[in-house]
Symmetry: C2
Subunit: 900 residues, 2 copies
């Protein structure tokens, strides 16, 4: 997702860098003496340089320093890889300013000034370019550091690190040479770890490293700190074009930057004794959002010690006891930072000999719950306005507020057996069930079960609905199991390939161990983890703040949010979540449940139209009843009903036993059933005889479904229930298909009105799903026959990128791992590819039919990045799983504000 | 194909009609007195009217008449469905002119003038609008006709037909009422057939019909011929908007026409006695093209008698004996017509009382052989120029000259068991073989066999190559069987769904009867017919004229023509047919043949890269040798090699026995093999792990193939053979994929040069197949990494229209039958849909890479209509099966001339 965001902002960046008027000034100082830059100058100073200038500018105690601009880097390359003339004179002047400000001296034996040299481009490229610390150390100043810190070992450790880093990064000496020298010393002192080497050893090591340096560079390690600095600056500029950085920019789609800036900054130390220390903190609680200073610190330590977890830090409040003055200064800074950045901050600080330095501040990461509370609180505090609040909450994080999840503390202790795909969020605990029937039976008997299947299909629906959670060993994020589970808000881990299922033996094997129907597992649908035993869950409460945020979102969004729901219960749940209609009501289950499947099979086995008609007549009353239920649950709101979509073979059993049972029921020979199954077999069912193609071959199926819809609508009207059906014809590829089927549907409605003697208003609209590339390409012709387009981006993605959702695990993981794709195109819309067809479809459709309503009903309808794109291309609504409706409402608001 | 042509010319037609300045003149007379129109005025006079005017204008004896313009029709509708004011006055004046010219009188009892009234729009709409014959007959004039013809029965028969047709067409009287009346008369005269009713009965019938008319219309049948005429004209105009005509125009995509014209023409009769007669003829032999008058005539007969075949007509030369003057007149007309129309004509004529009338002339249909000969002869005769000759030969018809086919006479007598798809043309005869092995063995034993399979796969290759022809019960025009067969020019009937194959029982069942390996069948790959027994074949000779035509074509075409070929033998054959390179060399068989399959399977079963590499090392020498063979056969010409494309599971056996054999060979357990097969199974293999996705997962496959190509090229160079390999990376969907794989291929070539110490010129280009919609949509990004694009329109069509070639028979036949598709999109490119992606791909690709070479290598590369489109979008070459190369050369020339 991070990558995603970067991609979208690429053009902005390009423009920023390109249109920036060339700066003449090469060096921007930041410190008490003066501060030249500010936080907006990222193109010129890089992200890090601009941030340091900003913090200094608002009066924070930042270790002073200066930034060489990205323009210098550009000039360096234009100059044939040489530093621009006079640049080092400016650097010297800036160092002098630093010396004066800090009362230290570069390379001095008494009060040596040490600096870090860091890269920093306009866009963060973590780890891609060079950094050198402790620059300014030499044979003399090393003792100055020893004196100042009272820690000789630390001084020599720093010095040897400089020689190593400098040799490696600036002079391209192979790291292994340094390691070999270190190993010798460690052997001599009988030291296992680096930290076991005493001071004397460190002093020897510095000498040994200088020898390595001389041997491989051909010159001595430079003792002149200005020489050190010059070469280090050149090395940073040179790193901009080294292959891993170039490749990184290619992969991330970053272009149009001038180069990297170089930040030279005074070093400060938290490990200079008991009046020194270091810490990290959040200005508010990032977990709950509570307005409470939250962090930790360590006395006489460096920043990495906090992160490494070798010593246990104290809560930040304890600082008051240690150094009240510094603590109160930090509190003030905390408040100042929130006021300045108008957001919760994540800060790093160091105290050097009782003096506080701020090293870093950035917007803090937070949980979904915290994001909501922070936004509401800050609006109340008048720190931000509603729009900012809406924009700031990561829409996807709302999931955390909507589903039960594992207690993080309990999870830490759990044994993770394997990790599959996080297919449908939430946490579920249960014993293993291996068939749908078993899951239903055991659930009815009061057990909590996890349904474990290689993959699921429509026949498993009942079992999936019964189970606490679903675990599959194949299939991706949009496999049947995943899609159905998300629709219900049921927890699901899919494609856990390490789980070997023995359905007959009623057991699974994971990591060499076997688990049976007696074993309890816990699955985390938000992370894909499969854990042993019962892990404790917690059910978060939906707070009042949540409702407030949703209210703001609704005020600012322009797209409607509908839901994908097939039953009155789902419809009601989605309506409670704020759904403004049903964007996709699949009708498959109306052919599956209970007795219906037999009528459906009878239809499929029929030899001629009359037989088919007789079987369909049995299905009609069921479907009518289903529709009445759904229309009633959604009264006053539109309900888009998709006509039968899957290929017929999905309704027939595929094993001999079930086939023979079916034959008995329908008074056929098992051979007949087997032969029909074989006849319906397709090499690529995804591309086969399904969708509206069924209605072309068997118009009576369409007629039955449309009759049921029209009769249901009439029944509702007579009960004063405002039904608003929209009939959606799936898988249309040509205008002629839709023309013929629309005429048939319209005629069927007319006949139904006549038969029911109903002359009232009955506004049933007819439209189509745009899910075949050809449909998007010929949208102008198709829209002449459509009241609406609903983009079925699941299938559209499959076809446009040639990738079956059911087989997605065969190569997609490789592609994501090798960064050949920025993200899973079934989770987040491939805007560069599939998006083009969406845009062509909307433009083409509206060019011929100004009133055309356009929406999306693929899985992408609940994905914030995709919703942003939907807003951009002008869709009227998005439709998503009931549990994603609040996310979509927020994302739609963010999209509207962004595109406004 | 007819529909196709109409579609393409739609825009032209629209423009013609729309830009035509409105004519004031309503009626265009044609006859000796004067002729107002000509053949170019189709928009105004309709096709038929313009043709009648043209023939009259060049002095042919055409029965005179006049045409009411399409503008009248438009006015009729603008006028609220009333004839324009004064129109009937004009009609009366024209009738008077006719009376004078023919010395007959409208409605007269002595010399009655009878006319036909026919519709005729700018575009032919056969059978869609109304026609009335014998108009002008009434109770008086019927005796005039009896006198003039000396045939009273004929006169009354004509009269009763007029009343019937008039009642039916003009007055909307149900046809059944007339039939009931006729049945009564027949009963009374004890007549079985209409023709058994004597004159007296016919007279009675006229009275009975008049009664029917009066009863159902409420008025008497109009005796005033002008009244008859007025109502008939109105009826023709009204028929323009009747639903079947409107629907016809919708389906055919015809729009922008003004309406229909009405042609009123004097009737002539060839059945007025022994000085009358009728005939049809071609100005040259339509079967051979020989310049010889060719036709038949019947004395004392009407045109329909010739067609009906009740009487046996005489050859047209016999006319000389019957009426020398008329025959010589006809010969003169024949010559005049060829000179005027500059093409062989198909004419209809009638002699009424010794007077010759020309009823129709049009360009005659001809065989492929005749087309070639006619074109060459007419250039020699300076009737047409080379360009016209090239444009005129239907390129697809050249197939007839290139393949053995059945003797038409023998075919007429054959028993057709069923009809499948005409998958690969030609005729084949053989006994039935049910497996590839059986086909190979029996062929080697000297038998001619037809390989009968449900469907074929790469393992059947040897058997398919051995067999005389291939018959499959599933699969479409581009199924494996069809594509492979066309590639070899092997006869194939595919998707013959009525053929039930029992492989184990070695028998098939068709139409209730069973045939075994002992039975001989004949299959016609040009028609799809499956016939019983041995039908005689003939092998047409390739004439010198054929070479002449190809030479002209090569002079005028701008696109190159390459071939799809995988072996040196195919390459050579295609080169002989004029191929200018290989556009698609599939490498699949290089993994299949003989021992190779075991190495391939070893690779697939490998657990890690080293094992895979070891297996691939065994394949390398085989592939290198194959490439040397192909490069040598095509020396001096480019050879596009597609890297491995099919999913790996295609290389593993799927039945237990073969799996166990394979396990034994590779020293594995059968369970391991079975498990790997299961692991590789995909729900939709078409969308799965194949193409370049294999190279992303297993880069060593690409490395082995590229090494083999580079080593082969180096080996050729050292033998002074100019090898020009082009490496094609299949199934690319994103620029990043191609970038990474191109780099890997380039690096592999570099390594190979180094290893072989070859420093000479080795121009191996690297490109990709554009076969995924996303690739066409992001062509600009992809082309940065490609030297060429080859549009794989087979897969591109499958994905764009969501239709699997392997399952095409499930619903495509319904779509073609119901006219929801204009043609099979796998045979002729869907220019409106898939074509858009082709165009986007070429434009996008060249926008970022000016030197990009673009071609097509799908099956469409050999289809004339598709080639026309390829020229339009600016492709550099088309590539097709060897046997279609001459067709493509001619079609490319026609496209160039058309688009010039």
């Amino acid at each position: 997702m991070a990558t995603k965001t970067k991609r979208t902002s690429r053009s902005t960046r390009t423009t920023q860098a390109a249109t920036k008027s060339r700066a003449k000034k090469n060096i921007y100082y930041f410190g008490k003496t003066r501060t030249d830059g500010n936080g907006k100058q990222k193109a010129l100073l890089g992200g890090k340089g601009a941030n340091l200038a900003e913090m200094t500018g608002i009066g924070l105690p930042v270790p002073p320093g200066f930034t060489l601009t990205t323009q210098c880097c550009d000039d360096y390359y234009k100059n044939g890889k040489k530093l621009p003339a006079g640049l080092m004179d400016g650097v010297k002047r800036s160092i002098k300013m630093l010396e004066k400000e800090l009362n230290k001296k570069f390379g001095d034996a008494d009060r040596p000034l040490l600096v870090s040299v860091r890269s920093g481009a306009e866009v963060s490229m973590p780890g891609m370019m060079n950094t050198i610390l402790n620059l300014g150390l030499n044979d003399q100043s090393v003792s100055g550091v020893a004196n100042a810190t009272g820690n000789e070992r630390f001084a020599y450790d720093s010095y040897r690190r400089l020689i190593n880093m400098y040799g490696d990064v600036v002079m391209d000496v192979d790291h292994h040479h340094f390691e070999a020298a270190f190993d010798k010393i460690k052997k001599r002192y009988n030291a296992k770890l680096d930290t076991d080497v005493p001071t004397a050893g460190m002093i020897e090591l510095c000498k040994a490293y200088r020898d390595v340096y001389r041997k491989h560079v051909g010159k001595s390690f430079p003792q002149d700190p200005y020489k050190q600095l010059e070469l280090a600056i050149e090395a940073v500029f040179a790193s901009w074009m080294q292959s891993r950085a170039v490749r990184y920019r290619q992969v991330e789609g970053i272009s149009g930057l001038l180069g990297t800036a170089v930040n030279v900054q005074a070093m400060v130390y938290g490990n200079m004794g008991d009046t020194s220390g270091t810490g990290v903190a959040f200005t508010r609680d990032p977990s709950t959002g509570q307005n409470k200073f939250y962090g930790e610190f360590l006395i006489n330590a460096q920043g990495e010690d906090v992160v490494a977890g070798i010593r246990t830090p104290q809560p930040v409040e304890q600082m008051r006891k240690w150094n009240k003055k510094v603590y109160e200064q930090l509190l003030k800074i905390k408040n100042k930072l929130e006021k300045h950045y108008k957001d919760m901050q994540d800060i790093e600080f160091t105290i050097e000999n009782g003096r506080l330095f701020m090293l870093q501040t950035r917007n803090g990461k937070r949980t979904g719950a915290a994001a909501v509370k922070l936004a509401c609180d800050m609006v109340k505090e008048r720190l931000i306005d509603e729009k900012t609040a809406v924009k700031r909450i990561p829409a996807g994080d709302l999931t955390q507020l909507l589903l039960p999840s594992f207690d993080p503390a309990a999870k830490k202790k759990a044994t993770v057996l394997t990790v599959g795909l996080p297919a449908s969020p939430g946490g579920a605990v249960g014993k293993l069930a291996f068939t749908a029937e078993e899951a239903v039976a055991r659930t009815q008997a009061g057990e909590a079960v996890l349904l474990v299947r290689k993959e699921t299909n429509p026949e498993d629906i009942d079992g999936m609905h019964s189970a606490a959670g679903i675990l599959t060993s194949t299939g991706g994020m949009t496999s049947h199991a995943a899609v159905v589970a998300r629709g219900w808000g049921r927890c699901c881990v899919a494609g856990a390939g390490q789980v070997h299922i023995d359905e007959k033996g009623r057991k699974i094997k994971v990591g060499g161990k076997t688990y049976t129907h007696k074993d309890t597992l816990s699955i985390d649908g938000s992370t894909g983890e499969v854990m042993l035993g019962q892990v404790a869950t917690k059910v978060p409460k939906m707070s009042g703040d949540f409702a407030t945020v949703m209210g703001w979102a609704d005020k600012h969004r322009t797209m409607k949010v509908r839901t994908n729901a097939d039953t009155p219960a789902d419809a009601k749940r989605a309506r409670d979540f704020g759904a403004q209609g049903i964007g996709l009501c699949r009708t498959e289950h109306m052919f599956f449940e209970g007795e219906r499947i037999m009528a459906m099979r009878e239809m499929i086995m029929a030899h001629h139209r009359e037989q088919r008609q007789a079987a369909l007549n049995k299905l009609l009353p069921f479907q009518r009843k289903d529709f009445i239920g759904i229309f009633t649950a959604m009264k006053g709101l539109p309900v888009t009903v998709r006509l039968l979509d899957p290929p017929l073979h999905e309704f027939l059993p595929h094993d001999a036993k079930s086939q023979s049972e079916m034959a008995k029921r329908l008074k056929l020979s098992p051979a007949e059933v087997k032969s029909r199954v074989a006849q319906l077999h397709e090499s690529n069912p995804m591309l086969g005889h399904r969708g509206c193609r069924l209605s072309v071959t068997y118009p009576e199926i369409l007629q039955m479904q449309v009759t049921a819809i029209a009769e249901a609508a009439i029944a509702c009207k007579s009960k004063k229930v405002d039904a608003q059906p929209e009939i959606m014809i799936p898988l249309v590829g040509t205008a002629s298909e839709l023309r013929v089927l629309r005429e048939l549907a319209a005629e069927t409605i007319k006949q139904t009105r006549k038969a029911k003697k109903f002359s009232g208003k009955l506004a049933i609209t007819i439209g189509t799903m745009i899910e075949i590339p050809r449909a998007a390409l010929s949208a102008a012709e198709i829209s002449e026959h459509a009241d609406f387009f609903s983009f079925g981006t699941n299938d559209l993605t499959q076809l446009t990128i040639c990738n079956s959702r059911d087989d997605v695990n065969t190569f997609l993981p490789d592609y994501l791992a090798k960064e050949l794709l920025p993200c899973d195109p079934f989770q987040s819309l491939d805007t560069a590819g599939v998006g083009q067809l969406l845009e062509l479809g909307v433009k083409g459709g509206r060019s011929a039919n100004k009133k055309l309503k356009c929406g999306i009903c693929g899985e992408h309808g609940g994905d914030p990045a995709s919703i942003q794109f939907c807003q951009k291309v002008g869709l009227d609504y998005v439709s998503c799983s009931p549990f994603r409706v609040p996310i979509a409402r927020l994302a739609a608001a963010q999209a509207a504000l962004k595109n406004a």
